[in-house]
Amino acid sequence: MKNLIYPSLFILLLNACAQPVQRSEALIFVEEHNIPTAESKSVRQVESTVIASLINDANKQAISGNTEQAVAIIERGLRIEPTNAGLWNLFASIRLQQQQWQQAIELARKSNALTNDKDLLSSNWGLMAKAYEKTGEYEKAKEALKKQKLTS
């Protein structure tokens, strides 16, 4: 199960820094109502360097089996940047590692609700597919795999 952490690490670290821009690109309100966005973008970008460091720490903990400590670090990161889809994705993968299948699914959903980044969406669908397989919900697992392929 630890293998799940490694492939997503690179994506997550990239995403931790890139995600704010992706979110703001999708903002219809910001465009329509001419709200200044430079400020909020820079806030997110600066904060994300902190988040990248926390993701790194959480990964180290998860890889060495300290999953509870990893969860604590992720929760700390989420208090600083609750809309960081990369953090939610890592949270989901750790719950998968802990065999908490239902939470893994819900957290991957949460991550999907906060991003339109294809790599991250694909990773989340992959996580969901694995978790559904474990809970014996094969139809949902198949559907998730299909969505993973569509987004990758």
């Binding site: 219809i28 309100f29 600066v46 902190v50 460091s53 989420l78 208090r79 819900e106």
Partner: protein, 757 residues
């Protein structure tokens, strides 16, 4: 006669001898019995002392902490805010850092010697950090020990309350290895000079104190050793009798025989009475350090420790807050003794003498500082802990409260409520309020107010005031519609003509719009954003009340809901806290997180007993909630809450919903941005009219709060199956019809044409 006398004398002698023999025999027997009794008494005492001392488990109140203050690179924070936070934690400003609990300030920079602390996710050791600021942000963050950059660190949380034992004792346990040497020195110097030499009782000490008292003509020194004082505090009454004194000496000898000096000293340091905080007795130097100086015992300097040790003689008589001069003189006597004994040198003595008492203002640990929040913490903890454990076991409780946010909310509400009273033509304090501020992605309650006066908590309105929620219920009705995406979308036409419904009791219910007008065919978007009642009731009735009730359940309403038509206009009575759970589910994209106040609980040894991890559950489809969030954002953009746009222009866009109940009795506002959710209720305890609406009442309070909190604007990110369709602008037909705008639809149900109604 002499002959006669001899035998009689002999007889007498032998009788005397016999009597003596019998007397001696009885005396010896009595003596032996007494010795036996005494021995038995000693054994009994010994048994009692040992079982009591070894089994001694101090009653320690639970300590409730706020959330810690995070410090990270790039954080939006200015120097003065950080210094304010440090002062709140009683960090001492110095020129050069020498021990934890200190900070120094230079231009655009603050150096901090952080204290060690057991956080909810583990212990962090003390360390020196440097924080540099540029344009109100943290530009550099370094570890001063090795000059390595760091990304993130934190200040320990604020102690926001204690849950006291029933017998009202307050105690902060100090372990043997945590007792500062200065404290031991001061105690030895003033209370018991031969503590490490005697066996529990010190005859030399008694002689010396008697001599000194005779010379001075008054009682300035007591002959009791620290061990005797401990015995007196732990086992005996305060009466001054010879019997008690003898018992005390006997028990002191026994205690000294059985236990090491270190153990006795540690017990003494934790037991000694050092003052009174209201009805709470302050026991031990650990508690006293917090109570008088707001700092851990380990951080106190010589003169501060000297004062606390001086107070052992009479905590009330030498109370430094009430009797400054007395306390000052007593402290100096202790310092003098320390100098005489060679524990401090002349230089240290002279420097300490010149210093003031340095005591802080009396701290408020009685849960009275944030009573509404502490009340909720206790209710949450009662699910997992016995009241007895909460009071006695010294639990360490990490909560979600953000003290700086709570303080801002309190100050803001105070101003707003005075204004609203005036606006409605009421005398001051007629209107009441309750506020819940939530970080909606993780469900953490950051601030809570149950009364317009934050110190009052006779009635915690945030939790216990269940009032009809009025139009705050409408998202449930419209979610039920949007969930049926084949029939309803944001522009579906609804019928806003007059409606009459025959109820179970035979009466006819004919709800009206707030304006008393009917609007005919209206797009769903407009019916929602302008909070039309007639179209909402028609919509709800056509969907079926069961569907609306299902949505309310999905939104986290747990109690029984009666299927009455009036439900559609918010006859359902909920507390602001319950309403916050409803809107958390919407703000957080349909992924519900139970609201929480407690992050983790530790036992007194620092072992984690329970962590309240973040748990998420999807209750409503993301695309349906997206449409609802869009509608709620349009309430602020063009609906009943549009005055927020001019009140908070830099914070737009935000989402929200106004609510008003019959006869303007209750006014509500629920609003959120990208991270923060706020629920405000304004009403009256006598349930009479407020003369205000959701927009002129609760929303004003909400708006004032958000001006202070500056929430991150709402960022709507459409799910993959939501598409935006170009359309005439339906916000204000026919004028707006010439303009174009975009509306969100579920991709498989995009309407082919849109008419501008």
């Amino acid at each position: 006669m002499a002959k006669k006398k001899k035998p009689s004398s002999k007889k007498k002698k032998s009788a005397t001898k016999r009597r003596l023999w019998w007397f001696n025999r009885w005396t010896i027997q009595l003596g032996l019995i007494l010795i036996c009794l005494f021995f038995s008494y000693c054994l009994w005492l010994d048994f009692n002392i040992r079982s009591e001392f070894e089994g001694k488990r101090w009653s320690v109140p639970a300590r409730v902490y706020s959330q810690p203050f995070e410090i990270y690179l790039g954080q939006h924070l200015d120097q003065s805010s950080l210094i304010k936070q440090l002062r709140m934690l009683n960090y001492k400003q110095v020129r050069f850092l020498s021990s934890s609990g200190q900070f120094s300030v230079s231009e655009h920079k603050v150096n901090i010697y952080l204290r060690e602390f057991l956080y909810a996710d583990g212990t962090e050791s003390e360390k020196k950090i440097g924080v540099s600021f540029k344009q109100q942000r943290i530009s550099h963050l370094i570890n001063l020990s090795n000059n390595e950059p760091i990304q993130i660190t934190r200040l320990e949380p604020v102690l926001i309350g204690k849950v006291f034992p029933f017998h009202d004792e307050d105690r902060v346990l100090v372990e043997t290895d945590q007792i500062p040497q200065t404290l031991i020195d001061a105690l030895i110097a003033i209370e018991d000079r031969r503590f490490f030499e005697h066996h529990g009782v010190d005859p030399m000490g008694i002689l010396r104190s008697t001599y000194m008292n005779l010379i001075r003509g008054k009682i300035t020194q007591g002959g009791s050793t620290l061990t005797q004082q401990l015995i007196k505090n732990m086992f005996l009454s305060r009466e001054r009798t010879l019997q008690r004194k003898l018992n005390e000496m006997l028990m002191a000898l026994m205690l000294d025989h059985h236990y090491s000096k270190e153990n006795i000293l540690a017990a003494y340091v934790n037991e000694v009475f050092l003052g009174q905080n209201g009805v709470k007795a302050i026991h031990g130097f650990g508690t006293a350090a917090e109570f008088y100086y707001g700092r851990p015992l380990q951080e106190l300097n010589i003169e501060q420790i000297a004062l606390l040790v001086g107070m052992v003689k009479g905590a009330s008589y030498y109370n430094p807050r009430r009797h400054v001069e007395r306390a000052f003189d007593r402290r100096n006597i202790v310092l003098q003794s320390m100098r005489d004994m060679g524990f401090i040198n002349e230089n240290q003595f002279q420097t300490a003498l010149k210093r003031s008492l340095q005591v802080t203002a009396k701290p408020d640990w009685s849960s009275a500082r944030y009573p509404a929040f502490i009340d909720l913490v206790r209710r949450h903890l009662r699910r997992d802990y016995q009241e007895q454990d909460l009071r006695n076991e010294g639990l360490i409780i990490h909560t979600t409260l953000q003290t700086d946010m709570q303080d801002l909310v309190e100050a803001s509400v105070k101003r707003s409520m005075s204004r609203l009273d005036k606006r409605a033509g009421f005398k001051e304090s007629t209107l009441e309020t309750a506020v819940v501020i939530v970080s909606h992605h993780d469900g953490e309650i950051l601030a809570l107010l149950g009364d317009r006066d934050p110190k009052h908590n006779a009635f915690n309105r945030a939790l216990d005031a269940r009032r009809p929620i009025g139009s705050l219920i409408k998202p449930a009705v419209y979610l039920a519609a949007l969930d049926n995406s084949e029939t309803y979308n944001v522009l579906s036409l609804l019928d806003d003509s007059q409606v009459s419904i025959k109820q179970l009791d035979g009466k006819v219910w004919s709800p009206q719009n707030y304006s008393k007008q009917s609007y005919g065919k209206v797009p769903l978007l407009r019916a929602f954003t302008r909070s039309y009642n007639q179209s909402t009731v028609r919509l709800g009735m056509s969907l079926g009340l069961d569907k609306v009730i299902n949505q309310l359940k999905n939104l986290g309403v747990e109690e029984h809901i009666r299927a009455l038509p009036s439900l559609l206009l918010g006859s359902l009575e909920l507390s602001p806290y319950q309403t916050a759970q409803m809107y958390q589910t919407i703000a957080s994209d349909g992924l519900q997180v139970p609201l929480k106040t407690v992050r983790a609980v530790f036992d007194r040894e620092g072992n984690a007993l329970k962590r309240y991890d973040l748990k998420v559950k999807e209750f409503i489809k993301t695309e349906t909630v997206f449409l609802m969030k869009y509608l709620l954002s349009q309430v602020v953009e063009q609906g009943t809450a549009k005055s927020l746009k001019s009140a908070l222009p830099s914070l737009m866009p935000l989402a929200g919903k106004t609510g008003t109940t019959n006869d303007l009795r209750d006014t509500w506002f629920a609003g959120f941005g990208d991270r923060l959710l706020g629920i405000v209720w304004v009403g009256r305890d006598d349930n009479k009219t407020t003369k205000l609406t959701g927009a002129t009442g609760a929303m004003q309070v909400w708006s004032d709060i958000m001006k202070e909190l500056k929430p991150t604007p709402l960022l709507l990110l459409e799910p993959e199956n939501i598409k935006w369709q170009q359309s005439p602008d339906l916000s204000n037909p026919p004028e707006s019809c010439r303009q174009k705008t975009r509306y969100p639809f579920i991709d498989k149900n995009i309407p082919l044409s849109i008419n501008c109604f």
